[in-house]
C-alpha cells in the first residue's frame, strides 16, 4: 500500500517538474535570440568598431578602447552580461565591416557607419538604431579664403574610400555645377598626411570625423570647417537580420541612454534618484516598476547598469565631442525637446 502511495507521490513530483519546466520553457520561448544566447554563453560581447577614429572608437593613452561607439558596446555588455568590460573589440576597415558581421564573427557593428536604404535591403542586415546624426562636411585651408562649399570649383579634396562620401560629392557637384576633384585614400593616416602636405585643398567626411581630422592636423588653426552639410549621414548600429530580439536589445540600450538624459538621470545622481524618486517615469526606467527588462529577455536592472557604466547620452557625447574634447556643437544630436533629433519611443 505504502508502495502505491510512494509511486503516486513520485509521479506527482515528476509531473509537477515537467509542468514547471514547461512553464519555464514557455516564459523563455517568448524571447528566443540565438545571438543573445551565444553572448551569454561566451560571457563576452564581440563588438565591431572603427580601427581608430577620434570621437567614435580609438585606443586612449592607457591602451583602452574609448569613444561614442565604444560606449554603446560597453552599454550593451553591461545590460546583457552585467559587466561593461566584457567586450572584445574588433577593429574593422570599411571594406570588411559588413562581411564580418554577416559571417557571425561579431555580434553587432557600431563603426561610424551610415544607415542606408541599400545596406538595409541588400546586405541582409538590420539597422538597429541611430546613435549619431551627422552629414558630410568639408574642412579647407584658411588661406584659400573659401567660405562655402559652392566655391570649391576645381579644388582637390582628400577622401577615405569605401564610404558613401565619393558619391555624395559627385552628386553635389552635379546639382550645383561645380567640379570638385577627389583623391581617394584607403586609410585615414595617409589621407591626413597628404592633407598636411598640401596635396589637397581640403578634407571631407561626416561632421564628427572632420572635427577629429582637424584635431589631428599639424596646425589645426590653419583649417576651417565650412558651414554646409551636403548629405545626411545617420550613423548607427547594424545587426544581422532574423534575430529581432537582439536587434531590440541594441536599440533599447541606446534609447536607455537617451531616456536617462531626458529624465536628468546621470552617472553621478543615479543611486540617489533610485533611492528617493517617486516619479513614475523614472521608476519605470530604473526597473522599480514594470517588467521592461524582462520584456527584452534581460533583468529589470539592465538600464541601471547602463547608466552606471557609461552615463547618459549627453554625458557620453560631451566626453568625446564636447567643448573639452573635439569641440563639435551638439546640433542634431540634442534631445528632441532641445531642438535635436535624439528621440525615444514611448517607454510604455
Amino acid at each position: 500500500m505504502s508502495g502505491v502511495i510512494l509511486k503516486f507521490l513520485g509521479c506527482c513530483t515528476v509531473l509537477s517538474c515537467l509542468v514547471g519546466f514547461a512553464g519555464e520553457a514557455r516564459a523563455q520561448s517568448t524571447i528566443k535570440s540565438p545571438t543573445l544566447e551565444a553572448v551569454k554563453q561566451r560571457g563576452q560581447l564581440n563588438c565591431g568598431v572603427d580601427t581608430g577614429m577620434p570621437g567614435y572608437a580609438f585606443q586612449n593613452s592607457s591602451g583602452q578602447w574609448d569613444g561614442l561607439d565604444v560606449a554603446l558596446c560597453r552599454a550593451v555588455a553591461a545590460a546583457v552580461l552585467g559587466d561593461p568590460d566584457k567586450v572584445k573589440y574588433v577593429g574593422l576597415t570599411s571594406k570588411v565591416r559588413f562581411t564580418v558581421l554577416q559571417s557571425g564573427e561579431i555580434d553587432m557593428l557600431i563603426r561610424d557607419t551610415t544607415l542606408t536604404f541599400t545596406r538595409n535591403t541588400q546586405l541582409g542586415l538590420n539597422e538597429a538604431v541611430i546613435n549619431f546624426y551627422t552629414g558630410e562636411t568639408f574642412m579647407v585651408r584658411k588661406n584659400l579664403n573659401v567660405a562655402h562649399v559652392k566655391e570649391l570649383d576645381g579644388a582637390t579634396i582628400c577622401v577615405i574610400t569605401g564610404t558613401t562620401l565619393e558619391r555624395d560629392i559627385a552628386d553635389y557637384g552635379r546639382a550645383n555645377h561645380v567640379k570638385i576633384n577627389t583623391l581617394l585614400f584607403d586609410r585615414p593616416e595617409e589621407a591626413f598626411a597628404a592633407a598636411n602636405a598640401g596635396r589637397c585643398d581640403g578634407y571631407t567626411d561626416d561632421g564628427g570625423s572632420v572635427a577629429a581630422a582637424r584635431s589631428g592636423m599639424q596646425h589645426p588653426d590653419d583649417w576651417v570647417i565650412l558651414p554646409e552639410v551636403i548629405s545626411r549621414e545617420p550613423l548607427g548600429a547594424f545587426v544581422r537580420q532574423g534575430d529581432e530580439p537582439w536587434s531590440n536589445i541594441v536599440k533599447w540600450t541606446h534609447y536607455a541612454m537617451v531616456e536617462a538624459e531626458a529624465l536628468d538621470i546621470s552617472q553621478s545622481n543615479l543611486d540617489e534618484v533610485k533611492k528617493t524618486t517617486t516619479e513614475p517615469e523614472a521608476r519605470k526606467f530604473l526597473g522599480l516598476e514594470g517588467d521592461f527588462g524582462k520584456m527584452l529577455g534581460l533583468d529589470n536592472d539592465w538600464s541601471y547598469r547602463i547608466v552606471k557604466s557609461v552615463g547618459n547620452y549627453g554625458e557620453v557625447y560631451d566626453r568625446y565631442f564636447g567643448p573639452k574634447a573635439l569641440g563639435l556643437p551638439r546640433g542634431l544630436n540634442e534631445l528632441w525637446n532641445h531642438g535635436g533629433l535624439q528621440y525615444v519611443l514611448a517607454w510604455q
Binding site: S94, T156, T161, G162, R167, A170, N181, T182, R240
Partner: protein, 371 residues
C-alpha cells in the same frame, strides 16, 4: 619520347579532376545557399549600374554618369600603366645595380650592396608611403608652381605637360602616321637589288612625326586657374610615387638575379674574351650579358609578376588602381563583395598569365637549343 601513362593512371587523373570540380561546385552552392538565406544573390548585373563617383586619374574618358563596368576598365588601365612603367624602370635600374655589384671598384660595389640590402629588407608598402611623403614634401604648392622650360609646370598636384590638340575627328593623318611607324621594321629588312635598306628606314619615323605634327591644331598650355593648374596633361604625384616605390623595390631583387646570372656564365668565357683582347666594356656587352640573359629570364618573370600584383598597394597612396576603385569604392557602393573580389582576382590572373606567356615565349627564343 615520353612513355604513355597507364590506363589506371589516366583514370586516376580524371577521378581527381572530377573530385576537384565537385568540391568547387559544392563550395559555390553553399555560398549561394548562405547568401539566399540572407536574401542576397550572386550576379554580375551590377556592372551595368551607374557609378556616380569621380576617378581622379584616367587614361580613357570618365564621367560620373559611366557604369561600374567602365570604372573597372579605367582602373585596370591605370594599374597596367604603372605596371608597364615599373617593369621597364626596374629592369633598367636592376641591370645597372647588378653590374655595379660585381664591379672591381670598392665604392661602386659597396654602394650597390648597401642599396640592395636596404631595399630588399624593408616592406614594400612602407617604401611606397615613404616615396609618397618624400615626393609631397619636395614639391611646391600649386600657387608657387615651378615652371620648367617648354611650358611644363611642376607642383604638388602633379607634373603638367602641354597637350597637343589634334585637328577635327576623322582626320586620316594620325592613322597614316601610325601606319608609317608600324612599317618601319619591315622596311628595315627590305632589300632593293640585294642591298638592305637598313638605317635609311629611320627616315620613316621622322615622316610619321611630321605627319602627326601637321595634324596638330593648337597646343593647350597648362596654366594656373583657381585652386589648380588647368589644361594640359597632368601626371599625379601618386603615379610617380607608386612608380618609384615599385621600381626601386623590384630593382633590388632584379639586381641580385643579374649578379647571379653573370656569375653563372663560365669563367672560361671571360678568359677567352680577355685573350682575344676585348676591352672590359666589350667583354660585358658582347660576351657575358648575352649569355647571362637567358639565365635571367625565368626568375625575372616572377619579379615582373610580383611587381604587377604589388601595384595594388597604390590604394594606400590614393593611386586609383583596381584594388582601390573596384575592391574599394565599387564594392562598398554596390555591396557586391564576393563578385567584386572574384573580378579583381580574375583580372590580376589574366594580366599575370599573359605576362607569363609572353616571358615564356621570349625565354624559348633566347634559350639554348638542345641538340
Amino acid at each position: 619520347m615520353t612513355r604513355r601513362p597507364s590506363r589506371r593512371a589516366t583514370a586516376g587523373q580524371w577521378l581527381l579532376l572530377l573530385a576537384v570540380v565537385a568540391v568547387v561546385w559544392a563550395l559555390l552552392r553553399s555560398a549561394g545557399h548562405n547568401l539566399a538565406q540572407r536574401n542576397m544573390s550572386l550576379g554580375f548585373g551590377f556592372l551595368g549600374d551607374q557609378a556616380g563617383f569621380d576617378i581622379p586619374f584616367h587614361l580613357v574618358s570618365w564621367t560620373t554618369f559611366d557604369t561600374y563596368g567602365r570604372a573597372l576598365l579605367v582602373c585596370s588601365l591605370n594599374a597596367l600603366l604603372v605596371s608597364v612603367m615599373g617593369v621597364v624602370a626596374s629592369t633598367a635600374l636592376g641591370l645597372l645595380i647588378g653590374v655595379m655589384r660585381l664591379s672591381a671598384n670598392w665604392l661602386v660595389r659597396n654602394t650597390a650592396v648597401a642599396f640592395i640590402e636596404l631595399i630588399r629588407n624593408t616592406p614594400q608598402l612602407v617604401q611606397i608611403v615613404f616615396w609618397y611623403a618624400a615626393v609631397l614634401q619636395a614639391l611646391p604648392s600649386a600657387r608657387q608652381s615651378l615652371a620648367v622650360p617648354g611650358g611644363i609646370l611642376l607642383n604638388i598636384r602633379g607634373l603638367y605637360l602641354p597637350r597637343m590638340i589634334t585637328g577635327p575627328d576623322g582626320s586620316f593623318l594620325p592613322w597614316l602616321a601610325m601606319l608609317v611607324l608600324a612599317g618601319t621594321p619591315f622596311a628595315w629588312r627590305l632589300r632593293i637589288r640585294d642591298a638592305r635598306i637598313g638605317v635609311k628606314a629611320l627616315l620613316l619615323p621622322l615622316l610619321a612625326a611630321a605627319l602627326f605634327l601637321a595634324d596638330v591644331d593648337r597646343i593647350e598650355w597648362p596654366a594656373l586657374k583657381g585652386f589648380n593648374v588647368a589644361g594640359g596633361i597632368g601626371l599625379p604625384p601618386e603615379l610617380v610615387a607608386l612608380w618609384a616605390g615599385l621600381s626601386i623595390y623590384s630593382a633590388a631583387f632584379i639586381a641580385e638575379i643579374v649578379r647571379s646570372s653573370i656569375q653563372a656564365v663560365p669563367r672560361g668565357q671571360q678568359e677567352a674574351a680577355l685573350s682575344l683582347g676585348l676591352k672590359p666594356r666589350q667583354r660585358l656587352l658582347l660576351i657575358v650579358l648575352p649569355q647571362a640573359l637567358r639565365l635571367m629570364v625565368p626568375p625575372l618573370t616572377s619579379q615582373y609578376l610580383n611587381l604587377i600584383k604589388n601595384s595594388s598597394l597604390g590604394a594606400a597612396i590614393a593611386y586609383p588602381e583596381i584594388f582601390e576603385i573596384f575592391a574599394g569604392t565599387v564594392l562598398n557602393q554596390s555591396g557586391r563583395e564576393i563578385e567584386t573580389i572574384i573580378i579583381v582576382m580574375a583580372i590580376f590572373l589574366v594580366i599575370n598569365l599573359l605576362t607569363s606567356a609572353l616571358m615564356n615565349w621570349y625565354n624559348r627564343r633566347v634559350a639554348l637549343v638542345g641538340r
